[in-house]
Subunit: 383 residues, 2 copies
């Protein structure tokens, strides 16, 4: 029986509320019209607040991976070096992108362990055009110290490419203060629009390099995006995904109505409620932290209890109508992850944690029900 009423509590895509779904049902418009230009302008105005930036922002008709490629491909020449930082799957993604454009140097840590700031400093000392960082490493539930990496990048005259795909719009991200030269966010995460768009903010320092770069990719050419955005009416260089722009516009209006401060507080409370419940249920967090890192405020990665396959927890939740995430690649079976991003409510957290207890009892991890929900309620009552 498919009621089309499954609750997505994975780290994106997140549920899209009816107000946003309805926005997509509007008829198509000419994307070179004033009407589209106004829609795009209004999105960009709110995005400046979401990114906390004075830099120009753009909306690409492609997923976060498209924006990641834009970040690297637009600013390097073949003989440049880009330093990538890995402590999870999305860090590895930049490592896959960079060699297509220039030389690669990678500073690795185990998935879910802190990034190696000393190693990054050493790599940058040897000269690099840019350094990439996943601010919020979704695969491992760890929040990496973007401000620290930004400082190192600026000290060594490297650009700072910051993937904020699952932090921007739901957590404290200070693009300008942290010196993120290219900052990236996805549509289907904290902003809670459907998947398919990504947004970038580009600094003056980045523009200098972009204008010198002769081998920019075509579809994600940021100079083309800038040129079209400065036309009247405001445009995109290629045909935009119009229904997704309608949805993004409505999603950003919701962000504005809630206000970024309240939105971040809600995301913090959402993840804190999962951590509180986990502690009450004897479930350990997966990430190992140092003083520079912390648990993600938008996705909570937990270790599968001893002798339990994390995928059994995921599958048990699915049978009960809630989609959470397992571990990716090498972490498959070892962890499970619950997202708290987008327009979730306390209601969603309580039903998720209550259902998690049912599943954990089913597979023999806990005996008593209610302790996780109670711990979560204590956090959520402040919301």
């Amino acid at each position: 029986m498919d009621l089309e009423d499954t609750l997505l509590m994975m780290p994106g895509p997140v549920p899209v509320v009816p107000r946003i779904l309805r926005a997509m049902s509007k008829p198509m418009i000419n994307h070179r019209s004033a009407e589209f230009g106004i829609l795009y302008d209004e999105c960009r105005e709110i995005l400046a607040d979401v990114f906390r930036t004075k830099n120009e922002t753009f909306i690409l008709s492609g997923s976060g991976s498209c924006a990641m490629e834009a970040g690297v491909g637009n600013i390097v020449s073949r003989d440049d070096t880009v330093v990538t930082i890995e402590n999870g799957k999305f860090g590895e993604r930049f490592t896959q992108i960079v060699p297509r454009y220039c030389n690669l140097r990678t500073v690795k840590s185990e998935w879910g362990t802190p990034i190696d700031l000393e190693g990054i400093a050493e790599a940058l000392e040897e000269g690099a055009a840019a350094v990439t960082l996943i601010n919020n490493e979704t695969s491992a539930g760890i929040l990496n110290p973007a401000a620290e990496v930004g400082k190192l990048a600026h000290k060594h005259d490297a650009l700072f490419i910051m993937d904020g795909v699952t932090s921007i719009g739901g957590d404290n991200v200070d693009v300008d203060k942290w010196g993120a030269d290219i900052a990236i966010v996805g549509s289907q995460k904290c902003i809670a629009a459907p998947p398919g768009l990504s947004m970038v903010a580009v600094s003056d320092r980045a523009w200098e390099r972009i204008n010198e770069c002769k081998t920019r990719p075509y579809y994600s050419d940021l100079a083309s995006y800038r040129k079209s955005a400065n036309k009247t009416p405001t445009q995109t260089p290629y045909t935009p995904a119009v229904p997704l722009f309608y949805a993004m516009h409505e999603a950003l209006r919701i962000v504005k109505e809630e206000g970024m401060e309240a939105r971040i507080r809600r995301h913090h409370a959402g993840s804190a409620s999962i951590r509180g419940a986990a502690q009450a249920l004897g479930i350990e967090m997966f990430p190992q932290l140092d003083k520079h890192s912390s648990y993600s405020n938008t996705v909570t990665a937990m270790k599968a209890p001893a002798g339990i396959d994390g995928n059994d927890i995921k599958n048990g939740m699915k049978k009960r109508g809630i989609i959470i995430a397992g571990g990716q690649d090498r972490l498959s079976g070892k962890i499970f992850r619950i997202g708290s991003m987008g327009n979730f409510t306390a209601r969603d957290m309580l039903t998720t944690i209550g259902t998690l207890e049912l599943v954990l009892k089913d597979i023999g991890v806990i005996d008593r029900l209610g302790e996780g929900v109670e711990a979560a309620q204590a956090v959520l009552e402040k919301l």
Copy 2:
């Protein structure tokens, strides 16, 4: 007053019928789920019929420009040469893409005049990795001889990259018979889905080159698309634009229900009705044809009458609630274009032509009303 009821009769985006709009209002799903895999598989099955191909097809979450870049970027090395053929704005687009990946050679004709088959043969004789062609040059309303270019490409061992963005799904296109190694179509044209997706069909000959190519773009890496499409469940390498996949699925179901033969007949009748009306009204066609080329069956490009700015016709139509297209770039003011692509009906053609007469009378081009509509009716009565 915005009734959200404007009739789009430009060469894409085309109107999206309620059935397809409604499909986008479904809740989000996990794009690594069996449910998404089935959706994608069903789309690919119908696409094989739309492309008339046995080659594997893929859906990219990006516009036609993304697919054009995929076509070039996946098959060349830096020291290769690609021959581009220009007789309109979209031919020029390949000329802008190629130098980002390899050496460029261009065979130019004036916009709206036949392509230079002898020049193309000469260029290919000097050695080229591929040749690009816009099958239906939307900017100029001319249908280029893809079968001829395919023959030349195969004779000279070059790949044939065919942009069928505004022909596939509405006109006779025979990807396998013509030997198109990479064929491309956009979502918002003859298939009549919203903008934001593009589809490609890739031949065995193309795969050989793709597998050798070391500098493939990341977001539009066709080898990644193939690898993910062969997983269980069927997937895309990066997060797909889920609502647009819902829409594409419904749009392709409509294509299947109508049947490709009937669909092509309808497109032929639609464009013939515009040409018939134009002749009755004394409006000349813009393209100059030779024996290998013909008028487009999906967009009709007409010369602005002597002393009239084509944009005045476009703007007059807009005031009356119908969006047609003017000329792009160097053709601005000189031509106007009416699309007949997607799920248009005889009703749409009659109201468009009837309104065109009102506009032409307003600006003093014609004295008598009704002659264009009558000519169009004579064509459409066979539909």
